[in-house]
Amino acid sequence: MTTIPAGPDVLTDPLFQATGAAGAIIRLPLPGLLARLLSGPDIIGFPGVAAEQRGHWWRFLVRCAAKALHERGWTVEQAAVANVAELEDSLRQALYAAAGDADGNRGIWALYQPDPARPGFLQPPTPDGAEPAATKYALNSASVLTSAIGSKNHERKVDVTRALDPEQTVYALIELQLGAIFGGRGNYPSQIMGSASGAGSGAPFMGVRLGTGENASFRHDVAVLLSQWDRIRGDHGLRGQRWALWTEPWDGESSLPSLQLDPAFIPLARLIRLGPPSTEDRFDTVWFRASNKPRIDDLSEGGDLGDPFTPRVPDAKNPDRLKVRGTLEGGYGYAEIANLLFGTDAKRPGRPSSSVQALRSAMYGGDVAVRVVFEGTAYEQGKTVGFYRREILMPPSVETFLVDPGPVREVHGELFPRVKDVKSALNGAARILLSGAPKPRDGDVGKITAPTERLEALVDRRYLDVLLDGAERHSRDDETWRADWARQLERWAIESFQDTKDTIPTATARRYEREVRALDWLRHRLRRLTEAAGGNAAAAPDPVLKETTV
């Protein structure tokens, strides 16, 4: 019987597709990709990476680059002017060394590692060095390499038999080891997440996107992680040297204290080993062994381990401590975004990720488009709700307000409750259409949501712009933003009602009467709200009331 050799090797084989500025797709090994991102021509995308894998992949790339540069004692600026080929070699050597395989002979970065006593890429050695089949490992298909929890909407991903090519296998391994949540006994979660399971679990991603390519953002993020190195050691307590967790034996019975982690450590969730590739070089089997403990004992108790892409909020149980804010069922709506950027929620003020917090220096003197990206998979107990991604173009004033969010918080404190008031008015109008009176009745909620949902969508599209514009005006004592917002909401509310009224069930015999009464009631309520905000009513004069001129 022939033994399949270790491989392919992530550090030497050109596994990874990247799209160049001209649109051509090239293939590079990991160090080549890192070198090109740091100092080469712009890369504008990773065509092989699935949407839900992108955040994990980016986090992995940044951690690898930061670790390699730190090992070399280089700054990002120095790397940026280096020769790409020389930089690639240097990064390769640094990564081999960082993973404890300075001469590159142990196959630590090999996707398939036939020797069970040795680690493969993101695959710890088996605890006793025996073949997985001979120990407590269970054979699975490669479809287990995902962060999704199986439920009826996700069976396509977790239940089907998958045969992954080496590139897809790397992305899937990274997704699992960096993003898996607690999946029941023996299936412990990865690190960098606020909760192990249920709402708020999972590893969120809040990063910057500078310009149109990936390079500027990558240099920014690596520089941020390097600049935070000592702070992560001090404040977050990651004072150790354990970087490539997969390279070390682990019996699944004990946890490593987070104190022993390197600031740029590569997270690890599960004890897995890939089966040998097929004759077409595809991976379709994975050995998995349940553990009795998580790999890391998170002493921060909230996943706050210095990751540059995790937004945080005060822990509800202990407000003095911050925990990672996972992606919630509502995704990244305007209220969540405002809170994560500027801490607008008085009860649980958010803190932006350090990648975003450091936008100031990135924007200094530059005129590139700056976007903030929010990504993450939302989970509920025992199921995956869905993947959310939102990218928002930031106005220039965001720089000022990230440093001093006070004016934004004050303005939000007035803008946000008005939305609630207007939604209440819309609900009243919808109820008049439904039953003739604005008073809530049992069971009517599901029938009247369309107008408020439309309003929410309109608000969501513009809120951040309005918020920052209001904060700017507030800062220079121009308080007209209140009335402007009230008028804007009034217009949107009327528009929302008109656009959605046909979706609300009503008595056919009284449809016109109810529509008239509902709209009149809505206008009346909105006018009062606008006047309370110091503005004149915004509604255009109704054509019915115009005098005929003939």
């Binding site: 209440s424 809530p440 016109y512 009467e513 009631w521 003939v550």
Partner: protein, 176 residues
């Protein structure tokens, strides 16, 4: 020889065509007033007897000629002229409000609004008969009966029900 493209008169824009309808309505209303003042009962009676399903007489064609009523509007004018003879034009008197003031029931008014255009024109005479000889703004009603769009009907409904609202206000108990 340079070919000169043949030019065809383009259709007037919507606003212009609406203005034309309004202008015609006003002109016809003024003409009918004149007939009333000069006691030309025969012509008025002939116009009052017009029905869409019968062939109109001289009085109608005289109006068509005088106000350049296009062929596409003839059916509309056949339907509204009898009403215009009975109810003079009174600027600013909203038809919906007038109907409400005349005591038309909500249910009857709603039923009329739900009719299609031809049926609404047919039933208008019966509905407005409750107003006796009272006048109202024909520009407003003419526009509605010509197009009978959802917006037209909503405008009529708004006049009617808001007038009623003043007598029977909706509870202001507010929402959630």
């Amino acid at each position: 020889m340079n070919a000169v493209p043949a030019t065809t008169p383009s259709a007037p824009p919507a606003a212009e065509s609406e203005r034309t309808l309004a202008t015609r309505m006003a002109g016809v209303a003024a003409y009918l007033d004149q007939l009333r003042r000069t006691n030309q009962r025969g012509t008025l009676a002939e116009l009052r007897r017009l029905r869409p399903e019968t062939i109109p007489g001289d009085a109608f064609w005289s109006l068509v000629d005088r106000y350049e009523i296009p062929r596409s509007e003839e059916a509309f004018w056949l339907a509204v002229l009898p009403l215009m003879v009975r109810h003079p034009h009174q600027r600013g008197v909203r038809p919906g409000k007038a109907l409400e003031a005349a005591g038309i029931s909500k249910a009857r008014f709603e039923r009329w609004l739900r009719l299609d255009r031809d049926a609404a024109r047919r039933e208008a005479a019966r509905l407005f008969s409750k107003l006796k000889d009272q006048g109202f703004d024909w520009i407003s009603l003419g526009h509605a009966l010509r197009h009978w769009s959802e917006a037209n009907r909503y405008e009529l409904a708004r006049d009617f029900f808001l007038a009623r609202e003043r007598r029977e206000p909706t509870s202001t108990d507010g929402a959630d």
